[in-house]
Symmetry: C2
């Protein structure tokens, strides 16, 4: 049963959320509805980042920023709400690549970010400045300013993530993942400090393999999490995901696609784990991993659902 | 009095037009309405080209190509007809530079061109391929594949052309021009060959200082024109221009802004010169330069005006 809001003193709690795309961004938005902005830091996956049309595109950063700015497109899970497609239509006429759909308004962000990066500014600084322009007060940090593209390993060889995800529609069966160059990547300024200061680290309901693992793979991140309280929220509900290929990936890797498998994947890190009520039979298995389970409705359909789930995450963490 | 069309055998006449922006593009469109496409080559100024938002923008090439494709915006003199401004609006919100207005559909051309150039293709090849996509059958050639940015010299120092032209609205008084790097520029493939084969070279009604001079400044162009018949059309009518700063530039350089001054500027090159009927008193002065004058209505308001003037240019050239 949900814990009552009245117990929560959010004014002193410092939270760091680790997030990838849509699911993660929704929980982050819930947390942002509750916490004062200076107490919430979001550390975002950059393994999906790639260059398209000569522009630096950062899908997870954009999903988080657009969601926090209230500009996210709720239907697609990417891009901006009420965007138009004039550039893309014309690009198609010119024989340009149209498999990755960038809307006209969305394009401005990629153009401006790319220009600022070319001027030599680091991605973390550029993200900060663009967030300010978008009216996002929460601190959004790319996990690193370095390149670490996620390579999806398949029977057909390695694919760049967006090639696998968008162009090939996640169809090739995966055999593994590689975050190219991650060994040399350094955490972006603020990442380690935010984790050190955190009262709570939240693993958002994002894809473990291609959203959270790349964040955790950056040298220094896991040690900065240290022995902090870590609460995870399952991205898998009743063997499926709301969006994205996480469940399919578990199957293809020879694992069960379940909330329990997610808890197992992060067992050394998690203090507690939140499962959907559809998976209440798995709570015992989570408990056996020495992880405190909590069962609730984790599906975030509305903006107030996000807030409600975020509140439960925070309240529950106080019991740890 | 206009010459009657019946005399013209256009099937064998090979024409090369030298053109800059709007005025030049209109006459080129007139020529394209008459000549078989394989008999018309347009050599276009690239001194205005610059990088904006990380993209290669070629204003004169685009004006010529859009005009020939029937896509030019008749009101602005640049960009595409019926374009939208979603990207630019969003870019402004993000604090990006919005002084150079690129429409959403227009943007696709710059993005695609820039990508192809980055792949190592020369501008002439990229222009050819994009023209094909736009349905432009006439051969449109940048005068060179090399960089030769027009620098406008003013009391405030040298300005890049687009900075002078768009950002500063042609306000600073000019003292001269420099085409940076032109000494090392080589004519693009096809330029010299087209000029060698030409039965007629047309100097379109484009700005002498910043549209035609940079074309003629590319080593090899003037010698390839050699002793061919060259007909010019005055961009200055009754001391003014239809569009652009040519007349203002003549004044600021201490010259009269007149069709006669244009004829004098190109006196070593011209066999004949076409003046507007408003300037019929100047025909005698042109004659004194050993240039055959022809007086007609040179203002191209409609598509059929373009055809009519082009026809007069062609017919007149047969008398040379």
């Amino acid at each position: 049963m949900p814990i009552r809001e009245i117990h929560l003193d959010t004014s002193t709690m410092r939270v760091v959320a680790l997030a990838g795309g849509v699911g993660g961004a929704k929980l982050v938005d819930g947390l942002a509805q509750i916490l004062p902005p200076e107490h919430l830091t979001v550390i975002v996956n950059v393994g999906d980042d790639f260059e398209h049309l000569g522009l630096k595109v950062c899908p997870d950063l954009d999903t988080v920023c657009y969601t926090l700015a209230g500009l996210a497109n709720p239907e697609t899970g990417w891009g901006r709400i009420d965007d138009t497609w004039q550039m893309l239509d014309s690009l198609s006429e010119l024989g340009g690549p149209n498999w990755f759909r960038i809307g006209d308004r969305d394009l401005a962000l990629h153009l401006e970010r790319t220009q600022r990066l070319r001027m030599g500014l680091p991605l973390s600084q550029v993200t900060h400045d663009l967030c300010e322009r978008l009216g996002v007060q929460v601190r959004v940090l790319p996990v690193t300013d370095d390149q670490m593209p996620t390579m999806v390993q398949t029977a057909f060889g390695e694919l760049l993530f967006q090639d696998y995800f968008v162009r090939q529609r996640c169809e090739p069966a995966v055999t593994g993942f590689r975050f190219a160059g991650v060994d040399q990547a350094r955490p972006a300024p603020g990442v380690v400090e935010a984790l050190h200061r955190a009262d709570l680290v939240v693993l958002c309901p994002s894809n473990p393999w291609v959203s959270l693992d790349p964040i955790l793979a950056v040298p220094g991140v896991i040690s900065a999490i240290g022995t902090h309280r870590v609460v995870g929220v399952s991205p898998i509900i009743s063997g499926k995901t709301i969006k994205g290929p996480a469940a399919k990936m578990f199957y293809e890797l020879g694992l069960q696609a379940s909330a329990l498998a997610v808890a197992q994947h992060y067992s050394t890190l998690l203090s507690a784990f939140i499962l959907d009520e559809q998976d209440d039979t798995l709570a015992e298995g989570v408990q056996e991993l020495d992880i405190l389970p909590y069962v609730t409705d984790t599906i975030m359909r509305t903006k107030s659902d996000r807030r409600r789930l975020a509140l439960e995450v925070l309240e529950f963490s106080k019991l740890l």
